[in-house]
């Protein structure tokens, strides 16, 4: 395997590790808002690392641009969903829990 492939594989593994950490946070944290922390932040970093790994493997500007777009859109979706869920949890359910 070339150096590029080794680095890509390492980045992919790191990305998967962050997704795993996010899921563990989802399972271990006590309430909705804490879980949102874990999911949003860890998954965003995971997505970034996966996109970075694929950019290295893609070896073309087009692929790099598209992966950048994918990362930004994923970030946007995660951030907005997170805010909406947090807001709903406070307002509708009155859950300003610990």
């Amino acid at each position: 395997m070339s150096v590029l492939e080794i680095v890509s594989t390492g980045l992919l593994a790191a990305g998967c590790f962050f997704y795993l950490a996010g899921t563990i946070g989802l399972l271990r944290f006590p309430d909705v808002h804490s879980r949102l922390h874990a999911l949003t932040k860890a998954d965003n970093v995971g997505l970034f690392l996966v996109c970075l790994a694929l950019t290295l493997l893609g070896e073309s500007l087009r692929v790099a641009l598209l992966l950048l777009l994918i990362w930004l859109l994923g970030l946007l979706a995660a951030t907005v969903s997170c805010h909406l869920i947090a807001r709903h949890s406070i307002r509708r359910k009155g859950g300003r829990s610990g």
Partner: protein, 312 residues
């Protein structure tokens, strides 16, 4: 080879596990959410089987639009019968095991029979692939959908229109806005829309155009546009009307009209029914199909006969 096998086995196990959870889960809401996840894993499975068109269609329609429709339906059902919230509909439980066994045997038989078939040169798939150049497109899926099996696509459009008419017939009298009824809109929503809606238009039209030579096509494009409509409907930018406006009526039947019109014209012009006279005809029909798929899906989600902008 080793890693691919592990991934494939994990995907297969995941599909089966999710399916079990969907069917035998404790609550309806949970089953719906897991069904959406199932659709996404299925999209991955299609990708592993080297079928990117199917993967995209599954992700957009199966997981995306169907998920939105199911959740909307669930919310409506809970509004109508609040006491039944959290219930799961269980038919006759004692039928589950026999039906499951029979289905498993049937699927196993079909799979075994399929594996017995000799991979010959005269299967329909091979013939279609060889004749692909005559269709004017280089994406075999589009070639099959629009040229070789045009009747299927035509009738699918009919089915979609019928589904919309059926939903209208059942829901008559209730213009129900699925948008938020809150006074103030959450922050970030406006910014999201101003970015996502234009991108949806761009991606939809790109998928339509790319369908000729790459994975894509009218169904995927229509589903993406419908998702944009769902988003606008959810955020209150599009509100239901009381009756279907004329333009929207036209759009609902446009796919059927253009496709069958072109097909009949070709019949009178001397060639076979539903043969398309060139690549331009394929793109024309696909464009009509795309908007005729997007509008009824968005209207089904909004549970409305028509949609209009918020300020009008």
């Amino acid at each position: 080879m080793g890693i691919s096998l592990v991934i494939d086995v994990l995907l297969a196990l995941g599909l089966v596990g999710l399916a079990l959870q969907v069917v035998a889960g404790p609550s309806l809401f949970r089953s719906i959410v897991l069904f959406v996840v199932f659709g996404l894993v299925m999209a991955l499975a299609w990708a592993r089987l080297h079928a990117p068109d199917l993967a995209m269609a599954e992700a957009a329609i199966g997981a995306g639009i169907t998920g939105a429709l199911l959740l909307m339906t669930y919310r409506r059902l809970v509004e109508l019968n609040p006491e039944k919230r959290g219930e799961t509909y269980l038919g006759s439980r004692w039928l589950a095991a026999p039906v499951g066994v029979l289905t498993g045997v049937l699927v196993g038989l079909i799979g075994w029979a399929a594996l017995q078939l000799p991979p010959g040169d005269t299967t329909a798939g091979t013939l279609a692939r060889d004749a692909l150049d005559e269709t004017g497109v280089s994406n075999p899926v589009t070639g099959v959908l629009l040229v070789f099996r045009g009747y299927d696509t035509l009738l699918e459009m009919g089915v979609l229109l019928l589904a919309f008419l059926g939903a209208r017939a059942v829901a008559s009298g209730r213009a129900h806005s699925p948008g938020t009824s809150e006074v103030s809109e959450p922050a970030l929503v406006g910014a999201l829309l101003s970015l996502v809606v234009p991108l949806t238009i761009l991606v939809g039209i790109y998928l339509l155009r790319a369908g000729g030579h790459a994975p894509g096509g009218a169904f995927q494009a229509g589903a993406v546009l419908a998702a944009g409509g769902v988003l606008l409907s959810l955020t209150g930018r599009l509100v239901p009307t009381d009756h279907t406006p004329l333009v929207q009526r036209l759009v609902l039947v446009l796919g059927l009209l253009v496709f069958s019109g072109m097909g009949l014209f070709m019949l009178f012009a001397g060639s076979a029914m539903l043969s398309l006279p060139g690549t331009w005809a394929i793109y024309l029909v696909e464009t009509a199909l795309m908007i005729s798929i997007a509008l009824p899906l968005a209207l089904l989600f909004a549970q409305a006969p028509g949609l209009k902008g918020r300020g009008h």
